[in-house]
Structures are given as C-alpha cells and as structure tokens.
C-alpha cells in the first residue's frame, strides 16, 4: 500500500477500501458458489431437468447386486464421497446435489432400463455410472436419445466418443503404449505373451499392444496370444505354454474372478514373478484383495492411479475415503476415476453457468481438475481425460510401489491411427 500524501486521505474508510481491493483477487480464487448469488433456476435450467432453487438431482447407476457388485461398489462409494464433499462446499451453482441410486444388477438390459428411468422420470442432470463396456454400450443409445450426461469411470477399449459421455478412465492407448515402452527399455524385453479374458476390452487392448510391438518398436515380437471366457478358472494349459516359450514378458488383461485362479496357479506352477516379468493392465488394489498379495507380489500393473501415490491431494482423498467407508477399504484405479466424475461435472456446470446438457457438453473441453487424487487432469475435446500413466510393483501387503510415472500427461486417443 503506497502512501499518497497529496490527497492526505488517510481515513479508515480508505484503508478498508484498499483492503477490500486487495482481497478481491482472493475472492476470485474461492469457490464461486460461496460468494456468487445463486442464479435463478429458469436461467440455469432451460431443458426441464430436476433442478430447483436449492437442489439438483443426479443419478448413480452401478451394479449393487450380481457378479459385478464387487467391482462397482468402490465406484459407488467414491461418487457418494465426492457428492458429499461438493455439498459441504456449498454445492453446484448454489444448489445441493441430491442423488438417486439405481441398481444395474450386473445385467445390461437392466442398465438400459434404469438409465432411461433416471433420465425420463427423474430428469437427473447427470448420471455417474456404468462399469463394464457391455453396460455402457447398453446405456449409450438411451443417453444419446434423451440427451443425458454420463460420467463413465472405467478404463476401457476406446473406439467410442460421444457428446453425452465423459470418460474419466483411460482409453486403451493411454494404458498400453507407455507400459510396453517402459518394459522394453527397463527390462530389455523382446518377446511378449498375451493372456486375456475373451471380450471386447482385452481383445482391443491386445490388438493395440500387438501393433505397437510389431510395427512401432524394433526387435520385439508377440509369441503367443490366448483368450479365456469370463469367469474361467483353469489356466494350466497356458501356464505350460508359458514354461515352454519362456517369454520375456507376460502381458495380461484377465478380468474379475479369473484373476484369483490365474495368479494362484502361476505361483503353484513355480513361475516366480520376481524373476518372470509380468505386466497387467487389469489388476488394481481391488483385485489384489481377492488374489492375495502373496500370490501376485512382483507383478507390474499399469494404471493411472494407485492408492499409494505420494501427493497431498491423494493423502487427503484416501483419508476422507477411509473415514467415510472404513479403514479396511482399498482404493483402486477405477474408484479414483469415479471420484473425478462429480467434480468434473460440478466444474463444467459452473464454467457453463448452466445445467443444460448441451452447454455442458461444449464446456467440458479444457476443464482442469487440480485437486484430483491422481494429480492434475484435464478434459480433452474428445471427452476423455489427459492423464499420466503409472506403473506399480505389487507388494505383499496388497499395495503398489510406484516405479514409473510418465513425465507428461498423455493425450487420450480413442481412435488411434495405425493401431486398428
């Protein structure tokens, strides 16, 4: 504060004024809603969504029952946590978030039915939901038809982009390319053996991995590729082939309960993961809970988030999550991605100054979330997230030790040229 003797205006009023001016920039940094007058409902909601002067309704649509419940529970918890935290801060555009939870029951037609109910009957402003690709594919036409907004948390195969979906997980190239480059560089890997569950995500992921290994790197090749039905538990034959071909790297995208059998049988067959490099794109802390840390210690997992990430955002997030859902809960990659959904939606609504889906779809590009547990993320024009890729080494206690982190954010590319 400079003294201006000419005016001699030293009144307390002036001081107050100056202090107020000095505070103004800080006010801009505070959450807007804390200060801004709550805008009129008619102005922020022109399409008849469930928005009142005090509340806005969103939907949570995951499997709370059925085979997928074990995976999707983490996402439900993360979304509820994010909503609670946003409400504590004053909500979205001055409105508290109310959520309606529906159960997809691990059944794809049910997902479509419930999505339609949320959009047509409850008029929710956004849906946080879906987990498997199949449930997303079932819901997508409904969301597009009724012009809803879906925040989808799971890492997935790509080959999709919709105005009505924000993909907060990684598409396949974000997970795969960096991990293969890393294993080739760090471990001098030349030969790869692919093992996956038989459905669209592993097949597409392995196709991308294969193209990368064969066309974009030199001296590397794929020596085997095998698929097993979902829920398969007999991996002895493929384990014998592994012993025979001795690949430098076992690259797996086996999902769900099959993982438990796969890693136990690997260990029983004497394949020691401390010596044999295995890299997976499908095992998070959630899966290790079932597999057992002893059975998988030494394997590498390629994700964008691990519970053990050492940054202030993550420490806060892990503490809040455990406070809400219990000390014993573990947080996997998808759980964190699910946590991003409500936050990104809130920031997009505030940027757009409206709950209208069309405005949100446009405003999404460039939304930045600096408080993300995984670190800084940003929404790309293609509605996927720029995010880092990390490689974790599985520990006996079920956590991962981060051994690599991509230096830059990786651009999402759901339709990778040269990899299809």
């Amino acid at each position: 504060m400079s003294r201006d003797d000419k005016t001699g205006f030293h009144s307390p009023l002036r001081r107050k004024l100056l202090m107020g001016m000095a505070a103004a920039p800080f006010a801009g940094m505070m959450p807007k809603t804390a200060f801004a007058q709550t805008p009129a409902t008619a102005a922020v909601n022109t399409t008849g969504l469930a928005v009142t002067d005090t509340e806005v309704t969103v939907g949570i649509l995951h499997s709370a029952t059925g085979t997928m419940a074990i995976s999707e529970t983490g996402s439900i918890q993360a979304e509820k946590l994010a909503i609670a935290q946003i409400n504590e801060m004053g909500g979205v555009l001055g409105r508290k978030i109310k959520f309606i939870q529906e159960d997809g029951a691990s059944d794809w037609p049910t997902f479509a039915e419930k999505a339609k109910k949320l959009l047509v009957q409850d008029k929710v402003a956004a849906i946080m939901g879906c987990w498997t690709s199949a449930s997303r594919k079932a819901v997508l036409p409904v969301i597009e038809q009724y012009n809803g907004m879906l925040y989808y948390p799971t890492f997935y195969e790509g080959l999709e982009q919709s105005k009505n979906v924000i993909y907060t997980g990684q598409e396949a190239t974000q997970q795969i390319l960096e991990s293969i480059n890393w294993v080739v560089k760090e471990k001098g890997a030349k030969t790869f053996y692919f093992i996956g569950s038989d459905y669209i995500w592993p097949r597409t992921s392995n196709k991308i991995a294969r193209k990368h290994i064969e066309n974009h790197l030199t001296g590397t090749k794929v020596v085997g590729e095998e698929y097993f039905p979902l829920g398969h538990t007999q991996f002895n034959s493929v384990i014998n082939k592994l012993k025979l071909t001795k690949p430098d790297v076992i690259f797996t995208d086996v999902v769900g309960g099959s993982n438990v059998a796969f890693y136990k049988q690997l260990k029983a067959a004497g394949i020691n993961l401390e010596k044999q490099t295995l890299i997976t794109i499908s095992v998070t802390e959630d899966e290790i809970d079932g597999i057992g840390g002893d059975n998988i210690a030494g394997a590498y997992s390629c994700m964008k988030y691990f519970q053990s990430l050492d940054n202030p955002n993550n420490k806060e997030f892990v503490a809040a999550f455990k406070k809400m859902w219990g000390e014993k809960t573990v947080i996997g990659d998808v759980t964190q991605a699910a946590y991003l959904g409500p936050w990104i939606w809130k920031m997009t609504v505030e940027k757009a100054g409206s709950f209208d889906v069309d405005k949100i779809a446009v405003a999404s590009e460039g939304i930045e979330f600096t408080k993300a547990p995984e670190g800084y993320v940003k929404v790309h024009a293609n509605h996927h997230l720029w995010s880092k890729t990390r490689i974790g080494l599985a520990q006996k206690d079920g956590q991962f030790k981060v051994v690599y982190e991509s230096p830059e954010l990786i651009e999402p590319n759901p339709f990778p040229k040269g990899y299809q």
Partner: protein, 381 residues
C-alpha cells in the same frame, strides 16, 4: 372326461376381454411413456410364459432353456436392425465400412454368410419363426423319440442354454459377444427409438401376445390339448392307445419355442438391443418362475404372473437398490409356500366362484377339475 371346454367359451372370453382391456386401455391411459415401455418389455417375457404353460403346465415338459428360443428371435431381429444401422455412411470411421461395428473391432472384414439373409425384412420375420421351430424340432426329435423326459429333459435344456451363452460370448466377432448387439436404430427406415414408435410397438406387442394366447386357447380346447394333458398324466397309456407321444411332445415344444422367439423379437424392438444376458440359465429359469407365480395351468395367469414379478422387481430395486434381491427372493418363497398354484390358484379359489354365480355358470368347471387333480397327484415334476 365328458366334455372338453369349448374354444372361446364364456369364461375364456371374459378373461380375454379383461386382459385386453387392461393392456390396451387401462395401462396406456394410466402410465407414462417410460412405464408403458417397461410393461411392453415385461410382456415380451409373457410370450415365453404362455409357451411354458402349454409345454410345461399342459404337456408336462419342463424346459429350463427357453431363453435360447427367446434369443433366437431376439438376435434375428437384432441382426436385421443392426445391418440397417450399419450403412456405409454410418460406419465410415471403421476400417471396413458397412459391417456392424463389433465385427470391425474383431478384425472381421466381410459380412459372414449367415448374416446375409438378414438384409431383408420378410426373410428376417420368416427366419425368426422358422429357425427356433427347426431348432426345437431337432432337440425335440433327439430327445422325445428316445423317450427322454422329466428331469433329464430339464437338465439337457439347461445345458443347451449354457452352451448357447458360451457360444454367443465366445464368437464375439459374429455375435457381438458379451456386449450383445447394441445401438439399433430403425426398422425398415422407421425410427424405433422415438416415443411414438415405442407407443405403437407396445400395441403391436399386446395384439401379438393376445393372438398367441388365442392360439394357445385354441390348442388347449382342441383334441390335441386333451392329449397333452393325458400324456402328462399317463404317458404310457396314451402310447398304448395308439398315439405317437413323441410327435405331440415335439409339436408343443416347437410351439413354445416359436412363442418365445416372437417375444424375443419384440424385446429387441422395444428395448433397442439384444444381449447374451437373456440367453443363459438364469433368465431361462426366471421365465419358469414367472409361469409358476402366475400358475402353470393358466394361460392368463402367465401374463399376470410375468407382470407381477417384473413390477415387483422394478419397484423393489428402485426403492432398495442394495437389498432388493433379498426381498424378491422372500416374495417367491412366500408365494410358492402359500399359493402353490400361483396367482391363478388364488383366482380360481376365491374370485372365480362368485363371478361364475353371477354369470350363472356351473359352479365347477370340468377343465379345472382335471387341473386340480393333476396338481394334487403330481405336485412336483
């Protein structure tokens, strides 16, 4: 047995009128578009349940694999719709434009030969009826000619349902795999996703269902229906009387299969996709449960049972997303324990007699006597 109930007697007429009024007038008047579409979806399962009443309730053939026939119809329709949605303009971002997206994702570059007929709508409709009929005929011939029946037949149909699921999921390049066939848009140029289309499809569905029920009533009232009941009660005696039991069994199994396939085709049209989650053991058994709740001897009960169970399912899961399965399970146990003859049993015991008195019909009906005897002599199949 003195007289068989005649086709479309007063009682059936009344029941048919009531169900038609409910489905064609009451529901469309009371329910909004979304709920009406849901009822439409439930009613597609009722096709299967009606088939099961004939096949299981009357013929005594318990099939735990009706999901397979539902899927044959549903996938047939889905294949047609998918081909229409996969025009070259719609799919130009693919490596091979003009084929369904999931084929492209699985490195298939040419439309497989068995997809070719589904370019044509009349051929598709024909195949939706013929393929399940043929498939049921093959299974039926293989089993009934060898006198496989009862529990063994049930187990084999269940195995077929499991195989069909594995086949569909495993051959994802040709079938869409776990995801199923999704993103269906138009039927011969008519957008099936609009609200008005859903409304029209609902009525098409109801009329088709009522025709199916009419056909089933006709079968029940015919000599064939009497033979079915006789076969269920004493198979050998029918055989010794000179009837070819196997042929009757094959016929009713095929008929139930075609009914299920019609339901499947309507399901695809109304829900907008088809997936293997409707093929396997669980959905097949669920359909038997609908029939059991409705009362396995009652064609109308099949419709009410299907509606009741699915309404319960939807409303319970909406109110208690994490606990609803337990509630539903409890409800089943309660119904089966308290009312072994299902909703139709309650109706026949408590509601029908006063109505009959009002209509001055005879208090007891021949057909029901047979049915009740059957229920008491053979409580479990």
């Amino acid at each position: 047995m003195k007289t068989a109930p005649s086709f479309l007697n007063r009682r059936d007429m009344l029941a048919l009128a009531v169900v038609a009024a409910l489905l064609l007038i009451v529901f469309p008047a009371l329910l909004d578009g979304f709920r009406l579409n849901l009822v439409g979806k439930y009613l597609t399962y009722a096709f299967v349940a009606v088939g099961l009443v004939l096949c299981w309730g009357y013929g005594g053939i318990l099939s735990l694999g009706q999901g397979v026939f539902f899927a044959l119809g549903g996938y047939g329709m889905a294949m047609y719709l998918k081909l229409e949605a996969s025009s070259v303009e719609n799919t130009k971002i693919q490596s091979t434009p003009g084929i369904p997206d999931f084929m492209d994702w699985n490195q298939i570059t040419e439309l497989p030969y068995f997809w070719q007929p589904f370019h044509s709508l009349p051929l598709t409709i024909l195949l939706i009826i013929l393929v399940p009929a043929f498939f049921a005929f093959v299974i039926g011939s293989a089993m009934f000619k060898r006198r496989v029946s009862g529990v063994y037949f049930a187990i084999i149909t269940q195995a077929i349902a499991a195989i069909a699921t594995i086949l569909i999921i495993g051959q994802q390049g040709y079938t869409g795999g776990v995801n199923g066939i999704t993103d269906l848009r138009t039927l011969h140029g008519w957008d099936i996703r609009t609200d008005s289309a859903k409304f029209i499809l609902y009525f098409v569905n109801v009329v088709l269902l009522l025709s199916v029920v009419g056909l089933a009533l006709f079968v029940r009232a015919s000599k064939l229906g009497r033979i079915l009941v006789a076969m269920r009660e004493k198979e050998d005696r029918v055989r010794f009387s000179g009837y070819s039991v196997a042929n009757f069994q094959i016929f009713v199994f095929c008929l139930a299969g075609v009914f299920a396939a019609l339901g499947g085709a309507m399901f695809t049209l109304q829900v907008g996709f088809m997936s293997p989650s409707l093929v396997g053991i669980v959905p097949s058994i669920e359909m038997v449960i609908f029939t059991a709740v409705g009362g396995r001897m009652s064609l109308f009960g099949a419709i009410y049972g299907t509606l009741a169970v699915n309404f319960a399912k939807t409303s319970l899961s909406e109110s208690f997303p994490e606990l609803w399965l337990l509630g539903l399970g409890g409800l089943f146990i309660a119904v089966v324990l308290a009312f072994p003859n299902g909703l139709a049993g309650i109706w026949n015991d408590y509601v029908q007699p006063p109505i009959d008195r009002a209509l001055k019909l005879r208090p007891k009906h021949q057909g029901d006597d047979v049915a009740k005897q059957a229920a008491s002599t053979a409580p479990a199949e």
